[in-house]
């Protein structure tokens, strides 16, 4: 069916789909809603032991002695390991993180010893019986301080606390542009530690068989890379040429936390190796807070300028990132920050440099948005300030500078489809910018760009798929993708079902097991819909072609007259041959064939070059968020009255899941903006629980409206682009901008807590008193 239709102001051809674009329930929802779904928490193997890790008592210290005698003597304790007992396994791509520390600890989170016991409580007690003697060293917690020459070194052998990473670029001529600019802003912004707070805590089970093949059950977003990491650990243990199988149970949330392999996984492997029994390590909530890697704090200096008409001329940014004591992907977030910095709005001259700095804090990891939220907070706050300086309406300013389809940005990102102008329109219309309002109420907006077509960080950005069909027309899809709850299994099932003319219920997606699923680089960069979707689509297309050829042969009808839908072949609207019948015939016949196909899809994106130029993603997602806030000027509390999130998603393959990604992302973003903060006191996490780490509740939940702009991307599966992360990217600046609009104070440091808002009001009004002013007897804003 072909039908011309006006959409988003663009004329285009719209096909009629049977499952694409439909609000289809998640394929795993029934299991999850009935309690059948199994998470790592729910798994037990026969003979399984329980592992536990001893963490450091100091943020920076020499380890003098680790006394394990008492722990070993405790009945039920099977294995006790210290840094001296094990071969040198090192974690992370920078290999600066020994699995168990010997000689020195560099943060409170440092793993000093581990035990395996027959019961979790025995393991806990054993841990408390390990005596460690430390000799404390001076520690450093502030990344800017850590860069000073007199600062203590976190890794002596590294000679400096500055990580040797090349994060620096300069396109065009920023200095010359500064001379041309008529209006300029120059500001400092900062963001703080926040953490993923997956509701399901981290955990892993390691199990060796008699031939030393290893199976690891773990929560990971990167099964194939994890497999490789575990192989390396085996190699260091002297186990070669054995099979490593990674099985993912249901994951209770990812958000970037499971992008690397961690000490608990490798520790479970070592304990299982020495104990010769399966070992499970499962974090309690407190451990989840202190021993998983949060999003790192940043300090950002930004200056930006425009000409008389408000056209951006340059953007000049530098950043300091707290890497913590060791290195994981957190240290590579600048590579993604470069994208908004060089390419959010048209800006011809850009300079950026970032320093990742070792401190004695916990080590950082990427979290939903991979650095983009930190960068966008500074950019979009500064955009509002620049618009004000130029005397141009904030919405108009963004219109003037909006990216457009066909743009090539200074970094070399090739903008194909781009719905940013439409997103800005949708938000400004909905929130009625510029209308007169009551006191303390204001509106703000902010936009985003994000990778929407994979992100080439490794040599490969690919994903494999295998599809087989059985005699009854049911489809098994084996994908490399990882579903952490975001619903990629459902999207893949929809894509395959659409292509093969079957129902979503007919498709079973397997993603849990590296023994049966093909390779994939991992669930990051919102790449799964685009990359795994295209991979599945390619495999399904192969099958479709074969089915059509077979059906044509069986029916004698030309292939191009056959329509495959509703589990059958149709000719002129009439069903002529059920798929199942065709399939049964295909192998119950001499020289028969099985209906199977595989496909590996690697998107046409580019690794960044030396100067960081390169089209990192095959396409880009855009969006604009708008928010109306009310500020209680006596308490400083910010209430969100309305929220609208407009996203260019290419095509909404499943609007139901899409809405879910947006609503969830937005509330996470609101928490980032207003309440969430890992409170670090000299390297120690002071709020390792949900009482004091303030994830918003349903009573604080906002009514957010998700607007979908479809731009039907040429490269995307059925035109779709990625949308997993963008929901939380522009939230904080949109809120900060709205607060400024409401009460005229600009908060430049996240989170925007009530006390910061009050302090800012006080500063603005120059008031000294607070609460109730004793002289005027008026309720006063206070610090």
């Amino acid at each position: 069916m072909i039908d011309d239709q006006e959409r988003n102001g663009k004329k285009e051809i719209m096909e009629e789909f049977t499952v694409i674009g439909k609000r289809i329930s998640k394929v795993d929802a029934v299991d999850k809603a009935t309690g059948r779904a199994l998470y790592i928490q729910d798994l037990k193997l026969p003979g399984m032991l329980y592992g536990r890790i001893l963490y450091s008592k100091y943020p920076h210290a020499h380890i003098i002695r680790v006394g394990t005698e008492k722990a070993k003597a405790l009945p039920g304790v099977i294995t006790v390991l210290t840094g001296e007992d094990i071969p040198p396994v090192r974690l992370g791509f920078y290999k600066d993180n020994p699995l168990l520390k010997a000689g020195k600890v560099r943060s409170y989170r440092d793993e000093v010893a581990a035990v395996a016991a027959t019961d979790p409580e025995i393991a806990r007690e054993a841990i408390s019986l390990i005596d460690v003697t430390y000799e404390a060293l001076p520690a450093i917690f502030d990344p800017e301080e850590a860069l000073k020459p007199e600062a203590p070194l976190v890794h002596e052998e590294h000679k400096t606390n500055l990580l040797k990473m090349p994060w620096s670029l300069h396109y065009g001529d920023v200095e010359a542009a500064k001379l041309d600019a008529v209006f300029n802003v120059s500001e400092r912004f900062s963001t703080t530690w926040v953490t993923h707070c997956c509701m399901g805590t981290s955990g892993a089970i390691a199990d060796f068989d008699h031939s030393n093949n290893l199976t690891v059950y773990t929560n990971t977003q990167i099964p194939s890379l994890a497999q490789k990491d575990f192989q390396e650990t085996l190699k260091i243990l002297g186990v070669k040429d054995k099979r490593v199988r990674v099985i993912k149970p249901c994951i209770g949330g990812g958000f970037g936390s499971k992008l690397d392999t961690y000490a608990y996984e490798h520790m479970a492997i070592l304990l299982a190796w020495y104990a010769r029994r399966p070992v499970k390590i499962l974090f309690e909530r407190e451990e989840e807070f202190i021993a998983t890697s949060p999003r790192q704090p940043t300090v950002t200096y930004i200056s930006m300028g425009c000409d008389k008409e408000g056209r951006l001329l340059y953007r000049d940014m530098s950043m300091v990132l707290d890497n913590g004591a060791y290195t994981s992907w957190g240290a590579t977030t600048p590579s993604v920050m470069m994208m908004p910095i060089t390419s959010l709005y048209r800006v011809p001259n850009v300079r950026y440099s970032a320093k990742c700095v070792y401190t004695n804090n916990t080590y950082s990891q990427a979290m939903r948005g991979y650095g983009n939220p930190q960068a966008t907070f500074a950019i979009e706050s500064a955009i509002d300030m620049l618009a004000e300086a130029a005397g141009i309406d904030r919405v108009e300013f963004r219109r003037i500078n909006s990216n457009q389809p066909g743009d090539v940005t200074p970094q070399g990102l090739r903008i194909t489809s781009c719905g940013l102008p439409e997103c800005i329109e949708a938000v400004s219309k909905d929130l009625e910018f510029g209308r007169s309002r009551e006191n303390g109420v204001g509106v703000g907006l902010a936009s985003l760009i994000h990778v929407g077509g994979g992100a080439r960080i490794y040599k490969s950005d690919g994903c494999g798929t295998i599809i087989k069909m059985d005699d009854y027309g049911k489809v098994d899809v084996f994908t490399g993708a990882s579903d952490m709850g975001q619903g990629s299994d459902t999207i893949i099932a929809q894509i395959v079902a659409e292509e093969l003319g079957v129902q979503v219920d007919d498709v079973h997606v397997f993603h849990q097991d590296t023994d049966i699923c093909p390779w994939d680089v991992g669930a990051h960069a919102s790449r799964t819909t685009f990359v795994a979707g295209n991979s599945a689509l390619g495999a399904a297309k192969k099958i479709r072609l074969r089915l059509l050829a077979m059906a044509s042969k069986a029916t004698g009808v030309d292939e191009d007259k056959l329509v495959l839908r509703d589990r059958a072949f149709f000719v002129e609207g009439k069903p002529v041959l059920p798929i199942a019948k065709l399939l049964r015939g295909s192998h119950f016949t001499p020289r028969g064939e099985m209906m199977m196909a595989d496909n590996f899809y690697d998107p046409p994106n580019e690794n960044m070059g030396k100067d960081f130029r390169g089209n990192m993603s095959a396409t880009y997602s855009f969006g604009t968020h708008g928010v109306r806030v009310k500020v209680d000027e006596a308490t400083g509390k910010v209430e969100i009255l309305d929220y609208i999130a407009a996203h260019d998603v290419g095509r909404a393959i499943n609007p139901l899941l899409l809405d879910g990604q947006v609503h969830g992302g937005v509330l996470m973003g609101v928490g980032y903006a207003l309440t969430e903060q890992v409170i670090m006191e000299n390297g120690r996490n002071m709020n390792p629980d949900f009482r004091d780490y303030k994830v918003l509740t349903a009573m604080d939940a906002i009514h957010s409206k998700a607007v979908v702009i479809e731009t039907i991307d040429d490269q995307g599966p059925f035109g779709a682009k990625g949308i997993g992360e963008p929901g939380c990217v522009p939230t904080a600046p949109a809120i900060a901008n709205a607060i400024y609009d409401a009460i005229g104070v600009r908060i430049k440091d996240l989170p925007i807590t009530p006390e910061k808002v009050l302090a800012a009001i006080k500063k603005k009004n120059g008031t000294v008193s607070c609460g109730i002013d004793a002289f005027t007897q008026k309720e006063q804003a206070c610090e």
Binding site: A29, A33, T34, G35, D42, G485, G660, D689, F690, V695
Partner: protein, 159 residues
């Protein structure tokens, strides 16, 4: 420590058990009876993952001694569906996209069920209040609230 007798009905099945006084209801369900639908997300009452119905009222099983549940009727997420028919709330959660990673889902369902039993005409604010002791990191709550609203609406239609 000495075990004490416990008579309890769980999802309509009666159990005569002997449990240690320091066993929580959550441990009894998950570890002794393999009813792993209730989840431990914090163990200290904050997250809501372990919520079950005790005599129709939502309570934290991580902060309830198994022995304190003696003589009561416990409903867990496994007991919501009746004779293979999903509970309308389960159906609605599934249809409305209220389930993402699913870790909070059983607790959310039990809180919602408690509300539906005690106040079948709850409005938006009452629904949000009823699930306000449950943290969900994935959904932003929007779809969960919509899912409960839809069931409450339906029960209104029936009248």
């Amino acid at each position: 420590m000495n075990k004490q007798p416990l008579e309890i009905s769980i999802n309509g099945d009666c159990y005569s058990l002997a449990v240690e006084p320091n066993r929580t209801l959550l441990e009894l369900l998950r570890e002794d009876l393999d009813l792993t639908g209730a989840k431990e997300g914090c163990g200290e009452g904050v997250c809501g993952g372990c919520t079950v119905l005790m005599d129709g009222k939502p309570v934290r099983s991580c902060l309830t001694l198994a022995l304190e549940a003696s003589g009561t009727h416990i409903t867990t997420v496994e007991g919501l569906a009746q004779k293979g028919e999903l509970d309308p709330l389960q159906q609605s959660f599934i249809e409305h996209g209220a389930v993402q990673c699913g870790f909070c889902t059983s607790g959310m369902l039990m809180a919602a069920k408690g509300l539906a039993l005690n106040n079948p005409h709850a409005g938006n604010k009452e629904i949000r209040n009823a699930i306000s002791g449950h943290i969900c990191r994935c959904t932003g709550y929007t779809k969960i609230i919509e899912a409960v609203e839809a069931v409450v609406d339906r029960s209104l239609e029936k009248r």
